[in-house]
């Protein structure tokens, strides 16, 4: 398959269609608009359904309906829109319905701005909606990964009967990079539970209400057990030059791109720096941090937020190493020189936390 130069958002949409996505319910919001626009243009021609809903609230409930029929379905939005979808996402997780939800993050809070940000980390991984539920959250760091992770998201959603979120940001969504689409068939699974019309079988019910505490508790434990299995099987991250590193950077998505360049700059100056890049934000890759935290190493978290990923890094490091922090906000993006000077300050200037 030849490489194609494409915007991140469009790569997501194309990958979704190739993954068998046959329904897209969306709503306009910058900076994710290329996704619904692409779907409106291409999905109907390729056997799918596109509909712009009257609101994100409505869109996520359309997703609930279609997912309940066993169809591969997707929606996308940006930060404020994801807040509106939070209730629906909780329902979808509770009903164990497979679907893909894309959040192309923009800066907040409130209306905020339309530039990139990573301020929805907590919302994505700690549950933006009510109740104990988890989304599998995948964080692409390139246009190639926007395509690959979206394609895999559909298989993961079906495999686990769970919503999967692709958590990108406006920069990844708007920039163009060459991309090559995965050339394999999606792994479709039978869905006997779907509401397709009770022909020759007992009626199926898609429902999240359970007014009896004893049985709702069982349901919650079953979800918890599923989430534990997901953590065992689907946690993924990337390591870059950490074997001999004195300082390990933790960063995902756009922040990781800048951090990687800063690692190379530091290495050129003889400073032993590495990078751990979480790709699944939930389940969070605690293991590499725990292993690296041998008491001699320091950590530096780079984020486009006030510090959210850093909490999970601290939990994993568990006190066995200083965890430094550098961030940009409001749509500003951290640059390699900024990160490099922080590295220098830590390793040579003896900057404490």
């Amino acid at each position: 398959m030849a490489k194609v130069l494409m915007k991140g958002n469009e790569a997501i949409a194309e990958a979704a269609i190739r993954a068998g996505c046959r329904a897209f319910y969306g709503y306009p919001i910058t900076p994710q608009n290329e996704i619904p626009n692409y779907m409106a243009l291409h999905l109907p021609e390729r056997g799918g359904v596109y509909l712009q809903a009257e609101s994100e609230v409505s869109a996520i409930n359309m997703v609930y309906g279609a997912a309940g029929c066993g169809v591969r379905v997707m929606t996308s939005s940006s930060s404020p829109g994801i807040s509106l979808k939070a209730e629906g996402i909780s329902y979808i997780a509770a009903a164990e319905l497979p679907c893909v939800i894309v959040n192309v993050m923009r800066c907040g809070p409130g209306l905020g701005g339309i530039h990139p940000s990573q301020g929805d980390y907590f919302q994505a991984v700690k549950g933006g909606g009510h109740g104990d539920y988890r989304l599998i959250v995948l964080a692409p760091g390139s246009v190639q990964e926007m395509a690959d992770l979206t394609f895999e998201a559909f298989d993961l959603a079906d495999k686990w009967r769970n919503p999967v979120m692709v958590l990108a940001d406006g920069l990844l969504g708007q920039m163009m990079e060459p991309v090559e689409f995965i050339d394999r068939e999606p792994q479709m699974v039978p869905k006997p539970w779907a509401t397709t019309g009770a022909e020759g079988r007992k009626p199926n019910i898609i429902n999240t209400l359970d007014i009896v505490p004893e049985s709702l508790e069982k349901r919650n434990y079953a979800l918890a057990e599923k989430y534990a299995r997901i953590a065992d099987e689907e946690t993924r991250w990337q390591e870059y030059k950490i074997e001999d590193a004195d300082l390990i950077i933790a960063a995902y998505g756009t922040s990781a791109r800048a951090a990687r360049s800063a690692v190379d700059m530091a290495r050129e100056k003889g400073m032993r720096v590495g990078l751990i890049r979480p790709i699944s934000l939930w389940p969070f890759p605690s293991a590499p941090f725990a292993e690296a935290a041998d008491g001699t190493r320091q950590f530096l978290v780079v984020e486009m937020s006030m510090g959210q990923l850093i909490e999970d890094v601290r939990l994993a490091v568990n006190g066995r190493g200083v965890v430094h922090f550098i961030n940009r906000l409001g749509g500003m993006v951290p640059t390699p020189p900024e990160i490099y000077s922080k590295i220098e300050a830590i390793l040579q200037g003896g900057e404490v936390q």
């Binding site: 046959r22 409505s58 279609a66 029929c69 397709t196 019910i205």
Partner: protein
């Protein structure tokens, strides 16, 4: 002896939880009878809303989905778009449809979504202990209008059928009542017609069914029927507000 009335196949055996005399039960039966008569039980998918009728998924003997409060028309749209040859209906109360779900119902109608909506209007929030709904009548006492609803504080009750009938996407809108056997039978015909409209692919069909809430109205079941006839019917006139098939005949 020949059987002339029995439980429709599209109702499950489960005993309904509704309060004694609550006409939700009648409306469930009318809906199930329509599904039986049209022979579509095995290709029907119902969407239950949130309110007293949230448990409808236990009472209708067909595939069901339970939707978040106010969102049933969106869930139904999501289903109908991917399964256009299936029959999709929503069963919603007035709090669900006329309050939190106003946008969803208006846009489903504006899109001419080919679904059937059973809209139960009992002028109150039943399940949550009798609060004012957008359809609560002026002067009507509820747990959140203890001195009676006033225009000053709470504005005017909304006539949803008339409102939705202004939308070109609406193919069939009728308001019916359940205050006596004649009107219950008329309601049954309207509900059957609303399903037929969907089968013929004509677009959005909604039947608003006036219904009682004796417990929260503080009346006996029979008194509630009479209160509905004497107070709700005058404010919510019965009749057909949109019917594209009739317009065709006239054309």
């Amino acid at each position: 002896m020949m059987r002339v009335f029995e439980r429709p196949e599209s109702l499950t055996e489960k005993q309904m939880h509704y309060c004694p005399g609550c006409t939700h039960g009648i409306i469930h039966r009318l809906t199930a009878e329509a599904i039986d008569q049209l022979g579509i039980r095995e290709k029907t998918i119902g969407v239950a809303s949130v309110g007293c009728s949230v448990f409808a998924y236990d009472y209708f003997n067909c595939d069901m989905q339970q939707a978040a409060h106010g969102r049933a028309p969106a869930v139904a749209t999501g289903i109908k778009r991917v399964l256009p040859d299936r029959v999709v209906f929503t069963y919603q109360g007035d709090g669900d449809l006329a309050s939190i779900g106003t946008a969803e119902i208006v846009h489903a109608a504006a899109r001419g979504e080919n679904i059937t909506v059973i809209f139960v209007n009992n002028a109150i929030y039943g399940m949550t202990s009798g609060q004012m709904a957008p359809t609560t009548l002026l002067g009507q006492k509820t747990t959140t209008t203890p001195r009676g609803r006033t225009v000053h504080d709470n504005g005017y009750p909304i006539r949803m059928s008339e409102l939705l009938a202004t939308l070109d996407g609406a193919a069939y809108i009728e308001r019916v009542s359940t205050h006596d056997p004649k009107h219950v039978m008329q309601a049954g015909k309207a509900i059957k017609k609303a399903f037929t409209m969907q089968l013929e692919g004509r677009g959005f069909a909604l039947v608003e069914v006036l219904s009682t809430c004796s417990v929260n109205w503080g009346l006996s079941p029979q008194e509630a029927l009479e209160w509905m006839r004497d107070n709700m019917v005058p404010y919510y006139p019965l009749g057909v507000f949109k019917d594209v098939t009739r317009e065709e005949e006239q054309a």
